[in-house]
Amino acid sequence: MRPVLLIDFGSTFTKVTAVDLSSEEIIGTSSAFTTADSDIGTGLEAALDQLRRAVGELAFEYKLACSSAAGGLRMMVSGLVPELTAEAARLAALGAGARITRVFTHELTRRDLRAIEADPPDIFLMTGGTDGGNRSCMEGNAEKLRSVSPRFPVILAGNRQAADSCEDSLQDFKVIVCPNVMPVFGTLNIEPVQREIRALFLNHIINARGLSRASELLSGILMPTPSAILSAMKLLADGTEREPGIGELMGVDVGGATTDVYSVAAGEPSDINVICKGLNEPYAKRTVEGDIGMRYSASGIVADIGEKWIAQCAGLSESRCEALMDELAADKSKVPSCGQDVLSQFDFALASGAVDIATRRHAGTLEEAYTTSGRVYVQMGKDLSRIRRIVFTGGSLIHAADTLGIARHALFSGRYPMSLRPMKASILRDDRYILSAMGVLAEREKEIALRIIKRELVNLGEIGSDDSL
């Protein structure tokens, strides 16, 4: 037996997964509650105790971890034009597993600087201009940022001609110069920035986040949890040289406060008569909806999709739903009791709404344009209509009674015919919540991690859009 330990430090739970590298099997998993203010090591000890009681003492060969504790990796990004470099910076940070607290466009203002000081980020990603393009934006912003305290690491990833002067302005900061996120108009280059974000997270953020004690227990790798999940999704889709993947896929994780959507797909148009516009989005793309979640952001779901929709989906009256919303607002830890109660019906509707909204915001869209020679289509973002697999992870989806009923809302819908979501798909459920652990394990053992993911995900079968064409 060659046991290794994988740890996921969450904001409320610390989860541990023990894997035997020889048999390629999961020996056991357990999780323990962590309060916001208790040291992160306490939760880990409790989870390990539980694991020991279940499977006995194990001599781990190594211990690796991912973390979203203490607010996760908090980033601010700045760019020039909102839908160009600012969007490129946002996509880069999200894909690296960050929580984006602010996006700034054009020049930073005094108010922006005060907002930065009031709630400083772990990392500031500064972009603007193509290579050889606009440099005044980055140069001006760096000059303005120089007076801000406290200091935080700044990644410069805009017009390469602006880097020298920005570096001079930011002498008191830890500055990392990276290739441009948009070197040529419309073309993304975000991997170099993402590598730097992860390196910074590992080497600098950990200490600041009270994770240092825990990191002494680890064997080196520590990454933001969403980045581990995206990495697991990518591994599952692409496979390795020796172990095939399952092909392009989508992933959905509905949490209490936010909803994450992943897609590992090229997203090219299905039809040659479609004209693509906007940034060419990344092959492995992550989006986060900060206003969509089962508890802290339940009101965001209702605000977006409407009370009527939620009531109809839950099979409850609107006034009943309103009362339930009030109950949830008062007690965020409320969960449905076993069996069929009203709250579980309501949760079904909230989860369905969350999946619907978040996948629509993630997927690309088609727009019809009437020209003198007839209709043409313009595509923005990725076409995910041909994706045939969707992975569901996260508590509210794993434990739901009717996962397929919820999952249906990730598919193409006649209500939103211009949203390019999958026409039909097999639904894979991460029952034991192993994706983040496998994303971390993949840093050392790609093939083993992939085989475990393929074995562990439960295929609930294929569903089609009700109103597919």
Binding site: V81, G132, F185, I275, A369, Y370, T372, S373, V376
Partner: protein
């Protein structure tokens, strides 16, 4: 090929126009003449021209329109550029910018009034435009 002259152009076909060939030829010709070209292709909105010009710090925006609706599509372009901080940026238009055979002097006047610096009649060879660009941008 000439050495790069350091001047940056943003080009594209405006509106719902899908004529894709001419703009490729212009891209090639401008590049050969030493310009740094960002070609946005067909069906380009005013906002796209402006966003690209800001990010690339362009020296000129060159709009092509072939399907006859150029006048409608170009309306308000200069105002939007001013709004976006691109005051005074060189702005050209050409192709078949209006329907049918109209008196070009008249057409030119209308586009000048809309804030276009130069307006080219149908069949203008790329060389003419390149000469104008060099003159207006002070190349050579």
């Amino acid at each position: 090929m000439e050495q790069g002259n350091g001047k940056k152009l943003v080009i594209g076909v405006i509106g719902a126009d899908v004529h894709a060939v001419g703009i490729r030829i212009l891209e090639f010709a401008f590049r050969e003449a030493g310009f740094d070209v960002t070609n946005l292709g067909v069906m380009v909105s005013q906002e796209e021209f402006i966003g690209a010009a800001i990010e690339t710090d362009a020296d000129a925006i060159i709009i092509s329109s072939l399907y006859g609706h150029g006048e409608l599509d170009c309306r308000g372009m200069r105002d939007k550029m001013n709004e976006a901080g691109l005051e005074g940026l060189l702005l050209y238009v050409g192709g078949n910018i209006v329907v049918g055979k109209q008196d070009f002097v008249d057409v030119e006047k209308r586009f000048h009034n809309m804030g276009f610096d130069r307006v080219f009649p149908p069949g203008t060879p790329p060389e003419t435009t390149i000469e104008c660009l060099k003159k207006d941008l002070g190349v050579e």
